[in-house]
Symmetry: C2
Subunit: 179 residues, 2 copies
DNA sequence: TAGCGCATGTAACGCGTTACATGATTAC
DNA sequence: GTAATCATGTAACGCGTTACATGCGCTA
């Protein structure tokens, strides 16, 4: 598992509150790992108990107090251990592929519609990724090592979306949606 | 969720035991949806209670008895409803991408090794998929509709592996593993 | 005054993994 | 004898989602 590790990764560069983390998991990091605020708050509680994080309440004028979390030495070691350990890839669990096995046994139209929708979503996401790439990662070879890592995650996202868009084309054509 | 739906999909064509299902989830269907035998047995229990399946104990000579499960009318309706309903795509949750964000903060070598391993695994899986494609799905346009669906799932698998292999190439090159 | 952004949580439930558990037959 | 295959399960725990819950300040 890795939500705790994703949180620690986010805390490497700056201390953040649960709320900040939730926002971060809605973008950037969240492109590759989603988490709701509920899950984040619960995980933070556990991580405090384990001693991976320390917390510090900050009073704010005109806003609710916030609790800033920071990575401890124990947390950093746990994170390093995890990065270095091999983790096995888990299978995708894509509903859509299972649904395809059913296409001969029920009305194919809604499924075709779902594929078309997916393609649109992917195109939107791809456009976003490409914009980020252009602005911040135009020349990957010249980046420092840590930003190379982030670039590679982004590149994987781009390839993923691109691949899925192409597959949707093939599917829609084969299923006669373009006829 | 969809394990129950994946099970019903497998039962569309033939009645199977928990053991048979577990084997099926190790190949074909399992390329896109993995499940352990423990999970399958528990799910079967729930599905019987819900009335989506019926069961029938079969005595066998020289082997343990087996319990064959069959899809009921209620089960088929539930399956149809699910296929037709839009389900939202969930994000990938790939550890590797999160690890990449850490690459500037710890020893990159093990991570590079993991990427190389992943690439090998993908190549093996791709070879398997291509063999299946060649043998059973060489001419997708001529297939009946239900086999077109299965072909498309396979095609997605092929594209996925291919994409990941290409990405690993890029990653290994950028991280200087080929130098 | 209605809604959004900031900020934090609890509770219940279901999915998924790991470990534990049994017992017969067949092939080496 | 020892391992693999066939065949079925239980128990405990952890991850993830959904629903529920509160309360302040700012803006339209």
């Amino acid at each position: 598992m890795a939500l705790s590790h994703a949180i620690m990764t986010a805390l490497l560069e700056e201390n953040l509150s649960g709320y900040d983390l939730a926002k971060k998991f809605d973008m950037s990091l969240g492109f590759f790992w989603q988490a709701s605020h509920q899950q984040i708050y619960q995980e933070l509680k556990k991580m405090l108990e384990r001693g991976w994080l320390s917390s510090d309440t900050v009073e704010q004028a005109g806003k609710p107090n916030k609790i800033l979390y920071a990575l401890t030495g124990d947390g950093k070691s746990a994170l390093d251990d995890w990065v270095v350990a091999q983790t096995k890839a888990r299978s995708a669990k894509e509903d859509l592929y299972v649904k395809l096995y059913n296409i001969g046994h029920c009305d194919p139209e809604p499924l075709i519609g779902e594929i078309a929708d997916r393609q649109l979503q992917c195109q939107r996401q791809l456009a976003l990724y490409l914009k980020i790439k252009e602005r911040h990662y135009a020349e990957p070879e010249t980046l420092p090592i840590n930003r190379k890592g982030i670039y590679l995650a982004l590149s994987a996202g781009i390839r993923q979306q691109q691949m899925h868009i192409d597959w949707c084309d093939e599917a829609l054509e084969l299923l006669g949606a373009l006829a």
